[in-house]
Symmetry: C2
Subunit: 455 residues, 2 copies
């Protein structure tokens, strides 16, 4: 046999069982998004490189998968350019399109491109794969799904409240215990202001983001190395070591930020969101966490992140408010807020905790054993009857050994097997075998319908 | 404002309403596939070019979208090769991956790659986009979805019978009247044999395939030009002008093909499939059509095609049996049969005939008008209550002018709007407006639940 074919590294095939589990995840998220009035859109896998380049930083540009132009793609390149061997410059010559890197930039592009058709506020969700030429490693893939919901064109904090409620509802449906963490970029900006280093906000948030991973001492060292004064770093300490209830934390922060208008605005926003969320009695813990900064610099207001409580894994959902996402496409002044569920990590968590409901991964309900053409014809008629009742049914297509057919039923987790031989046909009945208990009973097709509709 | 951003030609954005319609199509097909025991898989968008190249003919190779290798993609190319400017050779140097062109080749690759995990027969369905660098034109896109079901590892004709039943059921659910056409490659091979030109089968099927489009005279001319003798072309005439019921046609053909073992085998196969399908009383017409040949040369047995009766459009579904699909990956002897629904054309047909059920395209069920923060808080509580009852509900996030909020409700086709002002809060009620009739009534939230669950 020839060499086994394979797929590109960092990509995956999904088997029927894996697909059933993934569909359970996507459908749960989709259902909750729809309950809150978010509406689905889809954008093409390929975007113009002019849409994608420069939106994810220099590193991001490198991680974009580029599509070679069709036809004579070298025609417009001079000999000198070819021999210059500058891969970035040649990429620009050879490629006009790339695969989408996330759902956020295509969404911003969508909003600007279709602005005349859109009724604002626009609440959309989008569940599609994205591609990144990252080095593949455990839990990191070159093709993976994102499940985003965003609302643009509304400044109201009620959106933030609802998004936290959506997160809470989704994880409650999954049965995954989580802590929903919330922070606000304005608080971080206020802190930078108070310690007299407003231009250092990016450095500070990046450093704070690492607090969990590298510890307080290393964060302090990084801040100093980044050019903050010893005095500023000291001022930061009470903020970094804050504790107590959300209310207590907010009070302390408001105290520290008394002189920063921006900072106090951030405190107010978080207070409102936390208060409204608490009033609705969420299933999960919702916590103010100042160390939460998220890498993305386009956030301008509240930011969210979700940690699973019973599994060691990174953030499984994140999001926040951004005030100028469509500005990159020439449409300024449109505020938005959104969240993104990490389907692959949620998949890992559900697997590890074995939280899939039984009917989420089940396939066909009943398999008819094939004893030969005459019997199979009768089985086909029975199967059709079951399907009109909404019961999925299969007839084994070939009249091979019973053992092989039963092993097929077992491999697919089919709960019932029907045996229809000469005698059963004579009696107008079928022998129904419960594959879990092993019990057999002679029943009519109507009784099968009743039994399978109940179970 | 900067230049409006755009998307690559031949690709599309799907708006919420379009997505709702597309989901209705995909879900209908998915439901029927699952009822028949087909199980979903997904494969990556990118495949190794070694998997894709050479599988779709020379023209197909050109239509593959190729992905530029990451990093210094020119490193392994010599100056001479660069200056040779041979775009095909350079593509091989610069690219290792491509976007999938259909779902059939990736499925064959999947079966061979995972053969140790698979329990044959393997009945799989797959609903994913494919990409082709075709010249875009009306109804032809560079990114479009295919909805395939195939079973491999079973020679039984019962599979063909079930696939025709699946087609019949899907179009019956859509409410699209169709004619399901069926033919068999063995009949075509028998014909070639009888007229003494067994090596001309490809030419003959390609020519017959054009009968509808260019007429009998031109087909005859093409056959002569292709090297068939005048005598052979004459022998073909009764076959091309066949008429009557399926049974009558089969009888005439069996007569003509009396000396061809292969041909008679084909007649037997079609007879069996048509007979079984007829016994189950299909919703749609099922017709033997000898002019049906389909372009794809890998079919070896029955072939299917579906024509819509009430709309002028090409084939909206097709398929057939192939006996050696996995042979291209070194795994010979595995027979398969499958079908593929053309989602984009079905979408056009449903639009043209206005066949979408009302609830397929509906969004949110009720919108709460926002009269200010205090009222909105009450509305948020009401909305949560409705959502726990499975009713999708939105609170307009900003307390803007009533007119703007009502126009939002209209634009989204929201059937009910709830008004909760100071008075309503005092009474513990809400004013419910039916957006179709315009009627308003003062009701409790429990009454809203009851009313929306019923409607």
């Amino acid at each position: 046999m020839a060499q086994k074919p394979s797929i590109p590294k960092g990509t995956r095939d999904f088997s029927p069982v894996e697909m059933a589990k993934r569909n359970y995840i996507f459908n749960t998220i989709r259902d909750v998004y729809a309950l809150y009035g978010y509406r689905q859109i889809e954008t093409p896998a390929m975007e113009n490189l002019s849409t994608l380049m420069g939106k994810y930083g220099e590193e991001g540009d490198k991680l974009l998968f580029k599509i070679l132009n069709s036809g004579d793609f070298v025609a417009k390149t001079t000999d000198e350019e070819l021999l210059g061997r500058n891969s970035i410059r040649l990429t620009n010559k050879f490629c006009e399109k790339g695969l989408r890197y996330d759902l956020t930039v295509p969404f911003a592009r969508y909003v600007v491109q279709h602005r005349e058709e859109l009724q604002l506020p626009f609440k959309r969700y989008q569940i599609q794969p994205v591609w990144r030429a990252d080095r593949p490693q455990k839990g990191r893939y070159r093709e993976f799904y994102q499940c985003d919901a965003d609302v643009v064109g509304s400044d109201s904090l009620l959106n933030e409240v609802e998004l936290v409620q959506i997160i809470d509802e989704v994880f409650s449906r999954f049965g995954i215990r989580v802590c929903i963490k919330i922070n606000n970029r304005k608080i971080l900006a206020g802190i930078a202001e108070i310690i007299g280093a407003p231009d250092k906000i990016v450095d500070i948030t990046v450093a704070i983001d690492k607090l969990d991973k590298i510890g307080l001492d290393n964060v302090n060292a990084e801040l100093l190395a980044g050019g903050l004064s010893q005095e500023s770093v000291e001022k930061l300490q009470p903020i970094l070591t804050l504790s107590g209830s959300n209310e207590e934390k907010l009070e302390s922060i408001a105290h520290v930020l008394a002189d920063s208008e921006t900072g106090l605005k951030g405190v107010e926003e978080v207070k409102f969101v936390l208060g409204e969320v608490a009033d609705a009695r969420p299933h999960n813990e919702v916590e103010l966490d100042l160390t939460l900064a998220r890498g993305l610099n386009y956030y301008t207001g509240c930011i969210f992140e979700v940690k699973a409580l019973d599994v060691q894994i990174g953030s499984i959902t994140g999001g926040g408010r951004y005030d100028n996402l469509t500005g990159i496409f020439g449409m300024p002044g449109l505020s938005g807020v959104g969240i993104s569920f990490g389907a692959d990590r949620i998949y890992d968590v559900l697997n590890q905790l074995e939280l899939y409901p039984e009917d989420a991964v089940g396939g066909c309900r009943i398999l008819f054993i094939n004893f030969g053409l005459r019997e199979a014809k009768q089985c086909m008629a029975y199967a059709r009857k079951l399907r009109t009742e909404g019961i999925s049914a299969e007839v084994y297509p070939d009249s091979v050994k019973m053992k092989k057919q039963m092993s097929y039923a077992n491999a697919h987790g089919v709960p019932y097997v029907a045996l229809v031989g000469e005698n059963e046909i004579k009696e107008g009945k079928l022998m129904l075998k419960d594959m879990v208990s092993g019990n057999q009973q002679l029943v009519s097709i109507e009784e099968v319908v009743e039994l399978l509709n109940k179970s």
